[in-house]
């Protein structure tokens, strides 16, 4: 018999406590490191995504010329042309063809879309002059978001004279502020200093000035750059034009509803997630429609009715194995069976849903069986004892109590299906699709595929769009998990 009366060795006790404290410390450190990684990841994505939720417009006075818009077919009006005319009118000193082209390049290729929607809704506007909001191109947008090499603005503090020098211009006076390569903006124009010479600063014109008045301290400024022109995505002429727009006060920043209301596009500023979100929704509805009833029915049969023999054992092992099969295999199966054998079309949510249903079916069956198994047998036995049939006992008593567990399993399965791209690759859903799908048989893509496709495009602005799409996907998954937790809490019964 152990002698408990003997005093414990205090050194041993201290060692045991120390060991426990160490273990707790390890645990806390492990937790802290994982939280750190997670926070870093999410913050990094969120910071990159943030600019994508906004877009820059310029407000222009435009004339809705009936010659350009046929009142019978407003939809087909030349709204881009109308906006371009408005921009030309706002910059009367841009005259050469090259400069004019540069100016128009600052507009998005879909710049007239907003005006078109507005005019279609209010045809009475045709023939009047209105203030139109024109979307800027991706590079101009990034410039105003400060995502290009920074431009420094220094106010002019000296007095200068300017004179025409053949093709070029010559600055004289106090040249202490000027350095070759800088841009001087004065008199409504802009000049790039080409060289500093004893006789003055030679300059070429980037934007034609209104007058050649002398420059007084305070009424001119200098633009200088952190990077030389070839190292920048946006050249001096474009910067001068964009800064002129900023000075006119016509640049506006809006929340980008477009990002949620339009389909995919090859222009970053026009690309939106509506097509992908709708596609995801259609695919998941299809998945649920198929996998939920089949999964629950299979679980009920296996758990409650099936005889326990080698056959059911074999089926059980297979279901467990299927839950661990890589998802691309299901894609190959979908390609061979649904598209190859049944002749269903490629790239449609119908087939996507079928494939993903196969993917989540094992998960749902396993979760549902566990939930059914967790209902105490006494409940079923009580029902049977008062004369209920086996079917009644299950559908009236066991199944309602198992619902929270089944739902949790289902939602986790759906969350997995929402994040899948590999099986969809095989059935052609990894595709550029502009039109928003209207039904199960329209070509569609899904959110994770949209992320994958955008991440592979060369335009810089798509990197931010990619991050924003990841945030949207994370929010959707977060909401699904929140629903799962809510349902579990709501219907949970403890015995």
């Amino acid at each position: 018999m152990t002698d408990f009366s003997k005093k414990l060795d205090p050194a041993l006790v201290a060692k045991r406590y120390a060991s426990e404290r160490r273990f707790r410390a390890y645990g806390a450190v492990a937790l802290a490191i994982s939280v750190l990684f997670l926070v870093y990841l999410i913050v990094d994505i969120a910071v990159k995504a943030w600019p994508s939720f906004f877009e820059h417009h310029i407000v222009l006075k435009v004339e809705l010329d009936p010659a350009r818009i046929d009142p019978a077919q407003v939809q087909k009006g030349d709204f881009n042309g109308i906006i371009k005319d408005g921009l030309r009118a706002a910059f009367p000193n841009v005259t050469t063809r090259a400069d004019s082209k540069k100016l128009m390049a600052q507009l998005s290729t879909g710049t007239g879309d907003d005006l078109r929607i507005l005019t279609v809704a209010n045809p009475a506007m045709i023939g009047t002059t209105v203030n139109a909001s024109a979307l800027l191109s991706d590079d101009a947008d990034l410039y105003f978001k400060g995502m290009h090499a920074p431009t420094l603005k220094t106010p002019g503090q000296t007095n200068l004279q300017i004179a025409k020098d053949g093709e070029n211009y010559l600055f004289t006076g106090d040249l202490s502020q000027l350095v070759a390569g800088q841009i001087v903006r004065a008199n409504g124009g802009a000049f790039r200093i080409t060289s500093m010479e004893p006789g003055g600063a030679k300059a070429e014109v980037l934007l034609t000035p209104d007058t050649l008045n002398s420059l007084v301290a305070g009424n001119w400024d200098i633009l200088s750059f952190a990077a030389i022109e070839v190292d920048r995505r946006i050249d001096d002429r474009a910067v001068v034009l964009l800064e002129a727009m900023r000075d006119k006060g016509i640049v506006e920043k809006h929340f980008s509803w477009r990002f949620f209301s339009s389909g995919d596009s090859r222009e970053p500023e026009l690309a939106g997630l509506r097509g992908a979100i709708t596609g995801s929704l259609l695919t998941v509805v299809m998945t649920l429609l198929l996998s939920l009833p089949l999964g629950i029915a299979a679980a009920i049969y296996l758990e409650e009715f099936a005889p326990k023999n080698n056959w059911t054992q074999f089926i059980e092992v297979n279901i467990n194995n299927l839950a661990a099969v890589p998802s691309i295999i299901f894609g190959l199966l979908g390609l061979a069976v649904f598209i190859g054998f049944f002749g269903l079309p490629r790239s449609v949510p119908l087939v996507g849903g079928l494939v993903l249903a196969l993917l989540v079916l094992p998960t749902i069956i396993i979760a549902s069986r566990a939930a059914l198994n967790a209902v105490p047998p006494s409940i079923k036995e009580a029902a049977l004892g008062v004369g209920a049939s086996h079917l009644q006992a299950i559908f009236h008593h066991v199944l309602p109590l198992a619902v929270p567990g089944i739902l949790t399993g289902t939602i986790l399965g759906v969350a997995r299906a929402l994040g899948e791209t590999a099986p969809l690759l095989m059935i052609g859903m990894v595709a550029f699709i502009v039109d928003v799908p209207n039904g199960f048989r329209d070509a569609a893509t899904v959110l994770p595929v949209q992320i994958y496709l955008w991440s592979d495009l060369p335009e810089i602005a798509f990197q931010s769009r990619t991050a924003a799409a990841i945030i949207v996907l994370l929010v959707v998954l977060f909401c699904l998990n929140a629903i799962a937790i809510y349902l579990r809490k709501r219907f949970e019964r403890r015995w």
């Binding site: 002749g343 990894v430 595709a431 502009v434 060369p458 810089i460």
Partner: protein, 345 residues
């Protein structure tokens, strides 16, 4: 139970007889994908027809789908970052795809690039081969496992930096093209290998196609943006990717001079920069008339506002065909001249 019945009936509804396809289906190369999608979007906007659906399946996978047969269930166009092979053409013919129209749309330059912070290195194709091949000839022309660890081991004029090149995996068309345009040419500069080419082509092909696997060549995945980001983080490394990515990221990375030519829009277009490959789109002529918009889509693709020197595809990074070549390509595409087997490899 009602739910199950409902599902079954709903499925039967969805899976009803196939409706006539209204939109054009395009598959193929991920290199041509950014250009074809831009054309598809413009076509959808201006023609009033449905926007074509463009899948990114890779050149080989695209041609396989394209050649599987004629009819609504099969794609109408395929993108290719190389010319169709003779075997693929024959496969097409066997499956009833007899009328293929070849449209050459432009060039893609392959660049070896480094971070702007890295010192400028000038390479020859022979040096590229020496840096990347698994086996290289030694002084006596005997093949040995690649012994070069530093750039300075290859040539004293190169920096004493570890050889580290990030590039696409073997499954990529970009990798195939790089091997063909850089490594093969580099290999043929060795006398011993040139002799081998004459004597035993198969063995020679095996030499230039084999890229070393001892860590000097790092397979960095298919995503070119990823390679660009890795170059920014590691100025000592070089990366292999398409010209459009170099152009888009010109503020942080620079293309290396190869055989005395720096990659730029002008040098690739003029043909001075040799690491460039033509890009193709193949159309199924048999679908003209059955699938709406086939001819119009071809017309949009070869129009001046798309593949012209100032067209929107050049904004997207495509290196356009020079004037007369563009005219020829346009004329052939609009006339729908059917591709012949002779001349294919």
């Amino acid at each position: 139970m009602n739910k199950i019945l409902l599902t079954v009936s709903a499925l039967a509804l969805f899976a009803g007889p196939a409706m006539a396809r209204e939109e054009i289906r395009i598959v193929g190369s991920s290199t041509v994908y950014p250009f074809t999608t831009a054309v598809a979007e413009n076509f959808g906007k201006t023609s009033g027809m449905k926007t074509p659906v463009v899948e990114s399946t890779g050149t080989g996978g695209g041609l396989k789908l394209f050649c599987a047969g004629a009819g609504e269930a099969h794609p109408d166009f395929t993108n290719a970052s190389r010319r169709i092979k003779k075997s693929e053409f024959e496969d097409c013919a066997k499956n009833g795809v007899t009328d293929i129209v070849e449209i050459k749309i432009g060039f893609d330059g392959l660049t070896l690039a480094a971070s702007k912070e890295a010192p400028a290195i000038k390479l020859t194709k022979q040096q590229i081969f020496m840096a990347l091949a698994r086996q290289v000839p030694d002084k006596d022309g005997k093949l040995v496992d690649n012994p070069y660890k530093m750039w300075s081991d290859i040539d004293a004029s190169l920096p004493a930096e570890k050889i580290e090149v990030l590039g696409p995996p073997p499954t990529s068309g970009t990798r195939d093209s790089f091997a063909e345009l850089a490594l093969e040419v580099g290999a043929s500069k060795f006398e011993s290998l040139a002799a081998m080419k004459k004597a035993d082509v198969k063995a020679y092909d095996a030499v230039w196609k084999a890229v070393r696997e001892d860590g000097a060549y790092v397979e960095a995945g298919e995503n070119d943006n990823l390679i660009v980001q890795k170059l920014q983080a590691n100025p000592a490394a070089l990366g292999i990717f398409g010209f459009s990515f170099l152009e888009e990221n010109s503020s942080t990375i620079k293309g290396l001079e190869i055989d005395g030519v720096v990659p730029s829009y002008e040098t690739v277009a003029s043909g001075d920069y040799k690491l460039a490959r033509p890009l193709y789109v193949y159309a199924k002529k048999q679908h003209v008339g059955t699938i709406p918009g086939m001819a119009e889509f071809v017309a949009e693709y070869v129009s001046d506002k798309a593949i012209g020197a100032d067209g929107y595809l050049s904004d997207k990074g495509l290196i356009t065909l020079p004037g007369d070549a563009a005219e020829k390509s346009r004329a052939m595409a609009l006339a729908m001249d059917v591709l012949k087997v002779d001349g294919l490899k």
